[in-house]
Amino acid sequence: MNVDTQLELWEVFIQKNNGLPFKHEGSVHASDKETALQHARDIYTRRGEGRTIWVVPAKYIASTTADDEAMFFDTTDDKAYRHPTFYVMPEGAKQI
């Protein structure tokens, strides 16, 4: 097994413009948050991709696993009524 010897792993989230959601872009190695931000800037924003960067230590991200998939997500497969597609469009409204 390969051991990662290159400092701590940080996940990088970038916001393109004010008000837009942050999107996961990738990860970087860094010893602390300042260098993590700088590395993220150098690697993921070279072509004007962003206005704000978040970096989060990967170890603090909790994730579901493949084993969780069935009980977490499959159970919604037969609940189409949860989509707001059953409303009748009021007369004259362009969107609801």
Binding site: V28, S31, D32, E34, T35, Q38, H39, D42, R46
Partner: protein, 251 residues
């Protein structure tokens, strides 16, 4: 010397410094300590290449000669280069490379800040354009120096050694010639006052790193008089090889 000739030569000083610095940093390409730093250094190198090109292209009309930025970069020898000696100095280890970037960035930040208030439009434009990049270089290099200084005994001693070694190139940054005199009306800075500002900032930062400034009186100077160290020949040799071996080669 006319004012335009002074502008030409003054701009070449910064164009050449940027170009030689860019080439030096490019030497780290694929040799960085970690992938992220490899990219960070080549990014800084590319910033310097871009600044060099902008300074050359701005200088050329003042020189009034038929030449291109490529001619200036690839067809002059050591004694025709005006760069500060700190740019050509060996990269050495990572601490030394970061020390070079840091000490030069603090200096260039002051120069470009002054130029960005110049009444001379070309100088003004170059100052504004270059300043943001230089500020980032300072932030990146100072972050590393600070961390190395407070890292292990080994990393701290390397930063200390780097400071000692690179220090001998710093008086050179404040040497002036007839260009500075002729352009005094549009440069918006006075070099002695600027040196005090530079020194105060560097001293404060080194204090945070746990170091005092070297007491050495040995200073090597001559970059803007086109008197270079042995190092520049090796840099140009590698950088200019293709144009020298195959003149006018294009790709």
């Amino acid at each position: 010397m006319t004012t335009d000739q002074a502008r030409y030569q003054y701009l070449l000083r910064f164009a050449d410094t940027s170009l030689v610095m860019a080439q030096r940093l490019a030497e780290w390409c694929s040799r960085g300590p970690i992938l992220e730093e490899d990219l960070a250094l080549t990014n800084i190198s590319l910033d310097y290449f871009g600044q060099a090109e902008a300074f050359y292209n701005t200088a050329i009309p003042f020189g009034g000669k038929q030449e291109t930025a490529d001619d200036l970069a690839f067809r002059r020898s050591e004694r025709e280069y005006f760069n500060f000696l700190i740019a050509e100095a060996d990269n050495g280890d990572y601490a030394r490379t970061m020390m070079k970037i840091y000490l030069l960035s603090v200096y260039l930040e002051k120069i470009y800040t002054a130029l960005s208030t110049s009444s001379q439009p070309e100088l003004n434009m170059l100052g504004v354009k270059s300043l943001k990049e230089i500020m980032y270089h300072k932030r990146h290099s100072s972050a590393w120096l600070f961390r190395l200084a407070h890292g292990t005994a080994e990393s701290a001693s390397r930063v200390q050694q780097a400071l000692q070694d690179v220090w001998s190139y710093t008086d050179d940054l404040f040497s002036t010639d007839v260009c500075d005199e002729l352009l005094s009306g549009e440069l918006n800075y006075e070099i002695t006052a600027m040196k005090h500002v530079w020194l105060a900032e560097v001293e404060e930062f080194m204090k945070q790193c746990g170091f005092v400034l070297p007491q050495t009186t040995y200073q090597i100077q001559g970059g803007i008089k086109q008197m270079h160290t042995e190092a520049l020949g090796h840099v140009l040799c590698e950088m200019q090889y293709l144009q020298r071996a195959y003149p006018n080669a294009k790709w």
